[in-house]
Each structure stands twice: as structure tokens, then as C-alpha cells.
């Protein structure tokens, strides 16, 4: 049985990676990944919301009538998002300021509702917990990769706006501003998708 829990976690990270395999939740993926700090912060916020909502939805799956399950899911998700938002504002105000409107938008992030509908609404609590962690980490991984590329080339820094900020190139380095713009997000995402497709094909994970 242990293996099945582990499989629930790894499935979300690799085989059903929300960013690269399912291509879900693109709005925050494209919007906040200007800096690694923002991408990571957003990813972890989603991990928290997704795990909590998966647990609650899974444990309530026998009580929620079929017809109103979506509104119930949304209310549950929105509750956790609002709590995460308040916690961020109280304890990590700089991250809260950087993520801006995309924190409340986690409510409509397709991954969360998608996992609730496809998994947590049918599976037992522990497996849903694992699925939430896995999918959340997979999403975080996607955001991390995207923001890494965009920050390094679009901003010339690493971990900017944190205590570990590094200026990667000399003062004459002219960053590719395009990558920090929304259009650059699409370009980088497309390239990363192509890259992961090749990798998955080679590894025959399909």
C-alpha cells in the first residue's frame, strides 16, 4: 500500500505534471514567474491550498450531493485561499506584495479544482493528501523552472529580492527584457514544453 501513496506523489510531479503534462493553471504560471522568489512563493501557496482542499473535499466526499459538488469545492478552495492570503500578508508581506492579485486568483486555478474533481472527490483522504502534495510540487517545479529561466536571462539575477540575491553578470550585461514581459513568458513556456516533451519521449514515460 505504501507504494501507492508514493505513486500518488510522484505522478503529480512527473507523469501528470500540471504545468508540463496537463498544461493547467497557466494564468499564474505565466504571470508571476518573473522572479524565482515569486514563482516559488506562488508554487508553495498552491501546495498549501491544494493539500488542504484535497483533504477536506476527500473527507466530505460522501456528504456532498453530486449536484452541488462544484459550488462546494469552490467555497472550500476559496476559504483556504483567503486564509493563505491573510497568512502571507501577515508573515511574508513582501511576497504578498509581489504576488498581488494572483493570490486570490488561486481560487480559479484549474489544477486545484481539477484535482478536486478528478481525484479527491472519489479517493480516500490519505491518497488525496498525497495527490495534493504531488500535484502541488509538480506545479511548483514548473513555476520554478520557468521563473529560473526568466529571471536569469530577463533580469540577470538569481533569487532577487531575497537575502541570497546574486547578480550573475557584469554591469555591462543587458538583460533580455522581453523575457520578463508577458510575451517572454509564453516563449519560455513553449520552449520548456518542447524540452520536456523530448525528455519524456526519450525516457518513454508516456
Amino acid at each position: 500500500m505504501k507504494n501507492s501513496y508514493l505513486a500518488d506523489i510522484t505522478r503529480g510531479i512527473f507523469k501528470e505534471n500540471p504545468t508540463f503534462r496537463l498544461v493547467l493553471g497557466m494564468c499564474p504560471t505565466l504571470a508571476v514567474t518573473v522572479l524565482v522568489k515569486n514563482g516559488l512563493g506562488m508554487g508553495l501557496a498552491v501546495v498549501a491550498v491544494l493539500t488542504c482542499s484535497n483533504i477536506v473535499i476527500s473527507s466530505l466526499r460522501r456528504f456532498i450531493p453530486e449536484q452541488v459538488r462544484i459550488p462546494c469545492y469552490i467555497v472550500i478552495i476559496a476559504t483556504f485561499v483567503s486564509i493563505v492570503e491573510m497568512v502571507l500578508q501577515a508573515f511574508v508581506p513582501s511576497l504578498y506584495a509581489a504576488l498581488g492579485v494572483f493570490v486570490p486568483l488561486i481560487v480559479v486555478n484549474c489544477i486545484i479544482l481539477g484535482r478536486a474533481e478528478a481525484f479527491a472527490g472519489k479517493q480516500p483522504v490519505l491518497r488525496s493528501l498525497c495527490d495534493g502534495i504531488g500535484s502541488g510540487l509538480g506545479f511548483t517545479l514548473g513555476l520554478l523552472l520557468l521563473s529560473l529561466v526568466r529571471e536569469v536571462f530577463g533580469n540577470g539575477t538569481l533569487l532577487a529580492e531575497t537575502n541570497y540575491a546574486v547578480q550573475l553578470f557584469g554591469p555591462n550585461f543587458e538583460p533580455m527584457r522581453l523575457l520578463a514581459q508577458p510575451a517572454g513568458a509564453f516563449l519560455v513556456l513553449g520552449l520548456l514544453l518542447a524540452l520536456t516533451n523530448i525528455v519524456f519521449k526519450r525516457l518513454q514515460i508516456e
Binding site: 456528504f63 452541488v68 462546494c72 476559504t79 491573510m86 508573515f91 508581506p93 520578463a180
Partner: protein, 286 residues
């Protein structure tokens, strides 16, 4: 019957879910609201201390919905004013603090909250943009393209902020720092001679010749004007004698010919400024 039961179950489920949710949110808010408020207060104080390192005390005043903190040093001397206001930007209100020293110069600008577009309008947060305001005084034009720059692509975000800063600075200077709108001129420093100056009357420019002798204005002669003759006669009879009498430009121009009167004062001021700076007066040939 079972239909009704099912309906009741649906309603009950929704009620319970939303009620529990509301309860949780209220609890979370109860726990975090004081922390958030304290944090914002701390950030504000830290900024205030940064802009006014000698600040020891401050007194809050409210004017037209904006908060103004009069900042004092340990001896009770006024150091400046930290103003808080909000202006409509592109994506919503931009709330910010403006720190002004007692000479009416901007010493700090701090964006508190905004909803401008990520990666575009949020340049208002960047020090590169904010730095251009530091050191600007209430007499500076603060006009986009003149002494401050908007950021192309983010014109609305930046120009609305610039405009708001300009008017806030004027409010601070006039209401809390009691700074005169214009520079006082030290007439006694003007060398003897006759100087020509121009001012804007009601219709066109007014040209005057001002004669200074022994550090005093002795003669003000109106050389040229396009004002209504009767009004101009009134203004010319009232204003120059007052200026000569008081040796000050701070005269009462509410004469019934206010436009012409203001024009004369402006022209005299211009002449004196030219006298003091022979290299380049305010209204130099352009």
C-alpha cells in the same frame, strides 16, 4: 417526498459548507488582522525614521481625507511632514507616502499599495523612478518631460502619480510648512539701477521698469501693457505705490483689477530677479 428530502440535503450542505467557511475566515482574520496592521504601521514608522533620521515625535493632522504627520525632533523643532494619500492609477488606487522637509523639498517617496499592471505599471515601485523626485521642491514644476519623466508604456500609472505628488507637495508647503508660494526677494541686495521685467496681465504681457536706489525700490514705471485702460489705470495707481511704500511684493492685489494688478507684481518680481541674476532671469528670451 424523497425529492424534497434530497433538495433539503442540498440546501443544508451548502449552508453548512458556507457557514463553516465564513467561520474559518473570520477566525483567520481575527488572528492576522492585528499582525497586518502592526506590520503596516511598523513599515510606515521605519520609512518615516529613514526619511527624518532625527525624528522623535510626530503629530497627525487630517486634511481633506489625507493624513499628514508633522514630524518633530527631540527639541520639538519641525523637521518636515510625512503625508499619506491615494491617487487613481491605471489599475486602481495607488496609495503612497510623501516625505517633505521643512524647506518644502521631497526627501522620500514610498508606494504603500497599488494594483498597477505587473511588469509595466509597477515601475512606480522602482527606485529608478522614485529617485527623480528626491530633492525636488514645491517651487519646481514637477511636470512630465520637464524635470521628471514618465515611463513609456506606463504613462497613466506614472503621470497620475506625478500629478498627485505635485499637488500634494503644494498642499504640504502651503498648509503645514507655511511656505510662501514664491521666493522672497531681498531687495536690499539689488544693485542700483533700472531694470526691465515682464509679467502676464489679464490679456497680454505687462512690461515695467523698476528703479532701485540704495537697496530700495524708488520708481516703478509701466512701459507697456494691453490691459483694459480703465482697469489698468486703477491697478497702476494702487499697486506701485504700495510696493514702494512697503518695499515688498507681498501686496494686496484684490483691487477690482486683480488680473492687471497681479501682472504688475509679477513684472516687478521679474525685474528684480533679473537684477539679482544678470546672467539669466526667469522670463529670459526663449
Amino acid at each position: 417526498m424523497s425529492d424534497l428530502k434530497h433538495l433539503l440535503k442540498i440546501i443544508l450542505t451548502l449552508v453548512v459548507v458556507t457557514a463553516v467557511s465564513a467561520g474559518l475566515l473570520a477566525g483567520a482574520n481575527l488572528l492576522t488582522a492585528p499582525i497586518i496592521a502592526r506590520q503596516q504601521e511598523e513599515e510606515y514608522r521605519a520609512a518615516l525614521q529613514e526619511y527624518f533620521p532625527q525624528a522623535a515625535d510626530y503629530k497627525r493632522e487630517n486634511l481633506e481625507g489625507d493624513a499628514f504627520d508633522l514630524v518633530y525632533d527631540a527639541a520639538g523643532g519641525l523637521l518636515g511632514v510625512m503625508a499619506s494619500t491615494a491617487v487613481q492609477g491605471y489599475g486602481g488606487p495607488i496609495s503612497y507616502n510623501l516625505a517633505v522637509d521643512k524647506e518644502g523639498r521631497i526627501v522620500g517617496l514610498r508606494i504603500v499599495e497599488h494594483s498597477e499592471t505587473q511588469g509595466v505599471g509597477d515601475v512606480i515601485e522602482k527606485s529608478q523612478f522614485q529617485q527623480q523626485f528626491i530633492g525636488k521642491g514645491y517651487r519646481d514644476p514637477l511636470k512630465p518631460g520637464e524635470d521628471v519623466d514618465t515611463v513609456s508604456g506606463a504613462t497613466i500609472s506614472t503621470s497620475s502619480l506625478i500629478e498627485s505628488i505635485r499637488s500634494l507637495l503644494t498642499v504640504v508647503a502651503e498648509n503645514f510648512l507655511q511656505l510662501e508660494d514664491e521666493e522672497a526677494i531681498d531687495i536690499s541686495a539689488v544693485p542700483d539701477g533700472t531694470y526691465r521685467g515682464t509679467g502676464e496681465g489679464l490679456f497680454d504681457k505687462i512690461v515695467v521698469d523698476v528703479t532701485v536706489a540704495g537697496g530700495r525700490i524708488t520708481v516703478i514705471e509701466i512701459v507697456e501693457h494691453s490691459e483694459t485702460p480703465t482697469y489698468m489705470a486703477e491697478a497702476a495707481a494702487l499697486i506701485p505705490p504700495q510696493i514702494i511704500d512697503q518695499q515688498s511684493l507681498d501686496v494686496d492685489t484684490k483691487t477690482g483689477a486683480t488680473g492687471s494688478s497681479n501682472g504688475i507684481v509679477e513684472a516687478v518680481r521679474d525685474a528684480l530677479i533679473r537684477a539679482l541674476n544678470p546672467e539669466g532671469g526667469e522670463n529670459n528670451e526663449e
